[in-house]
């Protein structure tokens, strides 16, 4: 069954079956390991953006910061592999959404929890995830996915606590 997309006449295509999407993601991850020596990630780009912006706006404070100092020692990290990767992620997802009639401008969750409530939750969730990713040294993709494929103990500790906390939290707070 397909319905007309609100953004055009392109019919909404079904998502890939999980096994097919998982196999494709595994091969993309393997490809990334083979050409770079490390896996896929996302949250590292936020660090690079903060570090790069800091270097431009307040260079002395950024260089003196214990976390950012080493990251800006060799110049501005905007333009690092990770920032290019996240730009590629955006382009790939944009193309996929357009090709499948799944691009639609919306505030997802506005109908379920209300507009202002959804904005507060999205912001709070982002703050928690951004802070948490820096504590763990990676997020669901960088540490959970890539670290697990590399058989790292840390990845499985992360995934177990990630799942347990998500299960409990989603019973207390409705995100969308």
């Amino acid at each position: 069954m397909s319905v007309s997309s609100p953004t055009g006449d392109r019919p909404v295509k079904a998502f890939w079956p999980p096994m097919a999407a998982g196999a494709a993601l595994g091969l993309a991850l393997l490809f990334t390991f083979l050409i770079t020596g490390h896996g896929l990630g996302a949250s590292g780009a936020a660090t690079d953006v903060i570090a790069g912006t800091g270097l431009a706006v307040a260079p002395a404070a950024t260089q003196a910061n214990l976390y950012l100092g080493p990251k800006v020692a060799d110049g501005n990290p905007i333009g690092s592999w990770m920032t290019w990767e996240v730009l590629g992620l955006f382009i790939g997802a944009l193309l996929a959404a357009f090709m499948a009639g799944r691009f639609r401008v919306q505030l997802d969750g506005a109908r379920s929890v209300g507009t202002s409530s959804r904005i507060v939750r999205a912001l709070a969730g982002g703050v928690l995830a951004g802070f948490g990713a820096r504590v763990a040294g990676g997020c669901t993709s960088g540490l959970g996915l890539s670290g697990a494929a590399a058989l790292g103990v840390a990845a499985f500790v992360f995934l177990a606590l990630f799942f347990a906390t998500g299960l409990i939290t989603s019973r207390i707070v409705r995100g969308v």
Binding site: A28, S112, G126, G132, A148
Partner: protein
């Protein structure tokens, strides 16, 4: 000899493009679909993740086995048990409340979701807060429970790699069985039409 250790723009764009194209096609630009994993009504997140982990881990192992890649040539996250646990709690809570994790929020924005853009602003705020608080105290807490022996199950606990891989395959089968069992008893996975329409 593999890996190639490319670090340039083209390498990043190519890997990211594949990542984003697959994430969106899996339905992971939708916070409704993503959070349904925690409601146990849609197991796509774990099915996709564990399949990907097993495929990539087996691929890396085979490449080492046939000698195309030397051992210890890929990045393994440091076995910081406390940091990984606390980070897992925070990212899990952020995922349930905000509807995304860092990577999927970019896929969400690319599919037109403005709440994903708000989540990304939050990510930057959270990162900035961490950077501001980071110092000797935070660093010593993050170093708690570090496994000094090594970062992989093989190095840390002496478990042979084929045993670890076999355990992963068992976990993958368990995820598919448990997931399909739960999906049959609930409303089922979130469809593309439902995801595009938005959560209700």
């Amino acid at each position: 000899m593999l890996p190639l250790h490319t670090t340039g723009a083209l390498s990043g764009l190519a890997c990211g493009f594949l990542f984003g194209y697959i994430l969106e096609n899996a339905g992971f630009g939708s916070p409704q679909k993503l959070t349904a994993q925690f409601k146990l009504t849609d197991w796509s997140v774990f099915k996709v993740m564990f399949t990907a982990i097993v495929v990539a881990a087996l691929g890396l192992w085979l490449l080492r086995l046939v000698g195309l890649m030397p051992p210890d040539s890929i990045a393994v996250p440091q076995a910081l048990v406390m940091a990984s646990a606390v980070g897992g709690v925070l990212v899990g809570a952020g995922f349930a409340i905000g509807g995304y994790c860092p990577g999927t929020s970019v896929a969400g924005l690319a599919s037109g979701r403005l709440d994903a853009l708000v989540f990304i602003v939050g990510l930057l705020v959270g990162t900035f807060a961490f950077v501001g608080l980071y110092g000797p105290t935070v660093r010593s807490v993050m170093a708690l429970g570090m496994i000094a022996e090594g970062d992989t199950f093989t190095d840390a606990y002496g478990v042979a790699e084929p045993v670890v891989l076999a355990a992963l395959v068992v976990m993958l089968v368990a995820v598919f069985f448990a997931g399909s069992w739960f999906e049959r008893r609930g409303p089922g996975p979130v469809s593309a039409e439902q995801a595009v329409a938005g959560a209700e």
